[in-house]
């Protein structure tokens, strides 16, 4: 199949619609998870959801997406609740509590899955797609289920926008203003669980947490505003989700979850490097420019000092002297050329000398430093 069939092929259109929906929901809600330092909590939640899927199937015998995802949501929420209880009631730290919930719930899920696989009923197959995700199996009813669960979560985010922002940035202030921060905390946790479970079929329990963290992490680099971050994260999530899902659905032996994660990682690391203001490249250029500006200034001041020591006599000084005075910071020749361009120094046969304009400039600098 050709990735361009997305416009004509029915299956591909369903898959990309599902992946886009998933990216929008998980990117948007993930922004809050990232800011609240709950990135790893998503990992615990998604692993914890596995036994819920298996139990939902065992109890109802149904593989309807809504039933399985509700089971997943209950188990995911239970796992989160357990982490909270352990942190609150014992001295075991959050990371250990998450590690326990993640591995134990997942282990339990595997036990149930192997158990289900040995059941004599014919309809048991297909639950293992929840491990790594299989976008190609997405059907219309799956996408509808994702929308039924995900869109209300997004809507709630819009309705409680102000409260959720307060919760994420200054919970104490929110408390003093009289907002029910405790309830908001529960609501946000529940919304995060929803964001995770709707991705389980596409991305799988093992990697779903990255789908929550990564779009938000990329978006964070481009903006300092919450609204912008949520929109960007949804966009990144949708783009990566669709391209990963389509790639995986059109190529053989390319599991969906890992493919989406790799695409996402390109977006994240790209954002970290190229984003304006925060990005690594931008910062490198800025710090280099700053240090060059300081070097130029230092050379000018050195020349001024030399001229003072020679009682204002317009006498040229060789580059070697200036280099010795620069304490090995380097860039002396480049600085001299820049000063020459600004007509603050000129080159004479014996070396470099300040012009009158340069002297004025240096005096001004010296004045600035005294004040």
């Amino acid at each position: 199949m050709n990735p361009l069939d997305i416009f004509t092929d029915y299956t591909l259109r369903t898959v990309s619609l599902g992946a886009a929906l998933l990216g929008i929901v998980s990117g948007g809600l993930g922004s809050f998870a990232l800011l609240r330092k709950q990135s790893l909590m998503g990992d615990a939640m998604s692993h914890a959801a596995l036994p819920g899927i298996a139990l939902a199937f065992l109890f109802t015998g149904s593989k309807a997406p809504l039933v399985l995802l509700l089971g997943a949501a209950i188990a995911g929420w239970l796992g989160t609740w357990f982490v909270m209880q352990v942190i609150r009631k014992t001295r075991v730290s959050q990371d250990s509590a998450m590690g326990i919930v993640l591995s134990v719930f997942f282990g339990l899920g595997l036990v149930l899955l192997t158990f289900i696989q040995k059941l004599p009923t014919a309809s048991q197959a297909g639950l293992d797609k929840f491990l790594f995700g299989q976008a190609a199996t997405l059907m219309e009813k799956d996408v509808i289920t994702m929308a039924v669960l995900g869109l209300p979560a997004l809507l709630l985010m819009g309705v409680f926008w102000k409260e959720l922002k307060l919760l994420s940035f200054d919970r104490e202030y929110g408390d003093t203003l009289g907002f029910a921060m405790q309830k908001m905390d529960l609501l946000l946790t529940a919304m995060l669980v929803v964001a995770i479970v709707i991705g389980l079929q596409t991305v799988g329990v093992v990697l779903m947490s990255a789908m929550v963290v990564a779009p938000a992490a990329a978006a964070r680099q481009w903006t300092d505003r919450m609204g912008g971050m949520v929109v960007l994260a949804s966009l990144f999530g949708a783009i990566s989700g669709v391209s990963g899902a389509v790639l995986s659905a059109t190529m053989e032996n390319l599991p969906t979850g890992p493919t989406i994660v790799v695409v996402l990682s390109v977006v994240v690391f790209g954002s970290m490097i190229f984003a304006p203001r925060r990005g690594l490249l931008f910062n490198y250029v800025r710090s280099r420019r700053n240090s060059q500006r300081l070097q130029v200034r230092a050379v000018l001041e050195d020349l001024y000092m030399l001229s003072l020591q020679h009682a204002g006599e317009k006498r040229p000084h060789p580059v070697q002297t200036l280099r010795a005075m620069s304490w090995g910071h380097g860039g002396v020749e480049r600085s001299l050329r820049e000063l020459e361009e600004r007509k603050w120094v000129t080159q004479l046969p014996g070396g470099w000398v300040l012009t009158t304009a340069g002297e004025l400039q240096a005096q001004q600098h010296a004045g600035e430093e005294k004040s």
């Binding site: 001295r91 990371d95 591995s103 282990g107 158990f115």
Partner: protein, 370 residues
């Protein structure tokens, strides 16, 4: 018990101990999720090394995987040092990416060899006894037992050799650095051990069980003791118990051994969480109940002492007055009066409460203390 069953339990127990030893320090240093990151990320090291040497039993795989583990830790730190992402977020991105690359490589290029995505998550403990170590034509036991036994010895040697340094840098990193122990060197040695152990156990029990064995038994032990050697011992014992109980549960249910072992580490943690003598939930609830009773009794005797020789004493010391005065309900008031009688600080005469000598002493002490 067949020899195979014995071998499986032996390998599982050795894996549990090998994981518990570095796990204790992961839990104490609040880096438990590092085990999750490492146990996933090593996959890409194993796969790449396998493509290079085309031999699954080559020791190069082990070395490459362990190196990948340490590299993952360094990478997470590198990303979070840019200050563009917090540490949890950088971990939450770095290891899924490495793991994804590993999974993609396996599913695209390795065809149907031993490496497949299911065994990555689940391990192949049931097959471990058939992989024998043969030296000079003699079968001297299952290979897994030797690998994991080696891991136990390695971890044990590290802990014994650097016990003082590990202890100090775990409980007081500031002092450790001031005295001159290199925190970075210890940290990376610890991470290297976690990686090596994870690689060994990964083959046997899969990546998720590595996390369960490294975190849950030490965390359970942490709730039971304040002494490091006891914690290490308890964690190992809990690990072994999970291994053996897990094996037999798997036999009964005909389910994944790794899954049942992980479940048992969780059940043990849950039991400790509920019933630990000092820090357990039940002990905590009982303690709170007792403290509430003690406090209420002290209030009551102070109240009785206050009104003992006053004209309205008859009124104030009636049992049903307590409901107005303290807002205690009938049940609670009854409980406190019973507690007071048992301790001999008060007695009842009809519907009146009478303070005893012990009660006067208790009340006076309570008043003078405050």
């Amino acid at each position: 018990m067949t020899p195979q069953q014995f071998d499986i339990q032996l390998i599982a127990s050795l894996s549990a101990v090998a994981c518990a030893l570095p796990g204790v320090f992961l839990v104490l240093r609040r880096m438990a999720m590092m085990s999750d990151a490492i146990s996933h990320a090593i996959l890409v090291g194993i796969v790449l090394a396998f493509f290079a040497v085309k031999d699954l039993s080559s020791p190069i795989l082990l070395i490459a995987a362990a190196a990948t583990g340490v590299l993952t830790v360094a990478l997470v730190e590198m990303v979070s040092r840019t200050k563009l992402l917090k540490e949890d977020a950088s971990m939450g991105i770095v290891f899924p990416v490495l793991f994804s690359i590993g999974v993609i490589l396996i599913s695209r290029y390795s065809g149907n060899i031993h490496l497949d995505t299911d065994s990555v998550l689940l391990g192949e403990l049931a097959l471990a006894p058939f992989d024998r170590l043969v030296i000079g034509g003699h079968d001297i036991g299952p290979l897994g037992a030797y690998t994991m036994g080696g891991a136990v010895l390695l971890n044990l040697a590290f802990i014994i050799l650097f016990y003082k340094e590990l202890k100090l840098s775990t409980f007081d990193p500031g002092l450790a650095a001031a005295i001159g122990f290199s925190p970075a060197l210890l940290h990376y040695s610890h991470m290297a051990l976690v990686s090596v152990t994870a690689v060994g156990a990964f083959d046997v029990v899969g990546s998720i069980l590595v996390v369960a064995l490294m975190v849950a038994p030490p965390a359970s032990a942490y709730l039971l003791t304040d002494r490091l050697p006891v914690m290490i011992l308890l964690a190992s014992l809990f690990g072994i118990a999970s291994a053996i109980l897990g094996f037999w549960t798997a036999v009964v249910l005909d389910a994944s051994i790794a899954g049942t072992m992980a479940s048992w580490t969780g059940i043990i943690f849950l039991l400790v969480f509920l019933f630990a003598p000092d820090r357990g939930i039940v002990a905590m609830v009982l303690r709170r109940h007792r403290q509430r009773g003690d406090f209420a009794l002290r209030m009551l005797v102070v109240h009785l002492l206050q009104h003992e020789n006053e004209p309205n004493a008859l009124d104030e010391c009636r049992i049903d007055h307590l409901q107005d005065h303290f807002r205690w309900d009938q049940v609670f008031a009854g409980r406190i009066i019973k507690l007071g009688k048992r301790r001999g600080v008060l007695s009842t005469a009809g519907d009146k409460l009478v303070l005893q000598q012990d009660g006067r002493v208790l009340a006076q002490r309570a008043v003078s203390e405050s």
